[in-house]
Subunit: 190 residues, 2 copies
Amino acid sequence: MSIGRPRDAARDRAILSATLELLAEGGYPALRVDDVARRAGVAKTTIYRRWPSKGEMVLDAIAAQLGDRSVEESGDPLEDLRRLLEVTYERLAETVAGRALPALSAELMADRALAEEYRRRFVHPLRDRARTLIRRAVDQGRLRGDVDPELLMDAIVGPALYRPIVLGVPAPAASASAIFDLVISGAGHT
Amino acid sequence: MSIGRPRDAARDRAILSATLELLAEGGYPALRVDDVARRAGVAKTTIYRRWPSKGEMVLDAIAAQLGDRSVEESGDPLEDLRRLLEVTYERLAETVAGRALPALSAELMADRALAEEYRRRFVHPLRDRARTLIRRAVDQGRLRGDVDPELLMDAIVGPALYRPIVLGVPAPAASASAIFDLVISGAGHT
DNA sequence: TCCATAACGAAACTACGAGTAGCGTAAATA
DNA sequence: TATTTACGCTACTCGTAGTTTCGTTATGGA
């Protein structure tokens, strides 16, 4: 056992909850560390004792709400891919954490290390999963063999972040399925 | 004629050039107004006499380099759409201004007015043009009638900004055509 | 029970960059 | 020559992230 007064887990929870609340109220740009401290009933030093920066704290707060992205598999890779997409769009559109993610990109472009951690925790797991499903679908002849998995993922996941960041409008959870169908079936006549 | 000493157009050019240079060197997050002033050989007050904020200045610098997006029409709406997409990807990937845009988009999340101007100047003209071409292609029976133009645009343009912002990697100019083909033909077997 | 150790709160502090103010000087028109 | 506006310079204000210092509190071990 380590010596000295132990960290209070209740304070961790209070800080992360306050972060999510303030994120819901004003979004990432308006989030100030002093406000988080006040809302959590904690000193600012207590926050900086736990996280090296505001960005890392927010990353943890988001992770705490999103939890793991596990989706049960049906065995049909295309249906699993559709389901994965639906769940992703849904979480991005309908949770505080999800709605905060696009704006967090601002901070990320300015901090390479933070960007890397963001990708490692939120982006890559999702893309790895999707890539596996796409490869399986190709193997089973459900997708054309000349399809580039990366390109396919960009086309179907891209709008979920492109719309809020660039257009300033949400990507509705319901659009996931429509985008999936569009890209799988193609927009042109055969 | 207005009275008093006139603004020096050479200083405008010097400021915009310096902005582009520094954008090329360190990207948007590292761009400091004091540095622009020093590089341009101008006082900071001269910059703020012309632009109300750093963001507006950068928007003008980018516009100065990108110029207008006019692309000649061939009459074939699908080929024109492909060409528009290629030009867009190319400019985003291969100009200082284009490479700065993604990081700027992120910054825009914090400033609604600036975001609106950004969309008005750079995003909407492109999307309006694409929408027209898509509608024309539908009318000519080259695209399915049940295709949602907005969804189609999101899928083909999205990756150009999604990749740099979220993945931290460029969207190669060459990928424009591949994405276009994928979304038009569809990834699945018919 | 005492002691070493580390967490905590409070307040004052530093660092940094955007944007502003005041003033003396330069360039234009009438 | 008088007026008006641009310009440079210097020194500011302001907001926020992150730090420092120190007195206080909780815990586990001797």
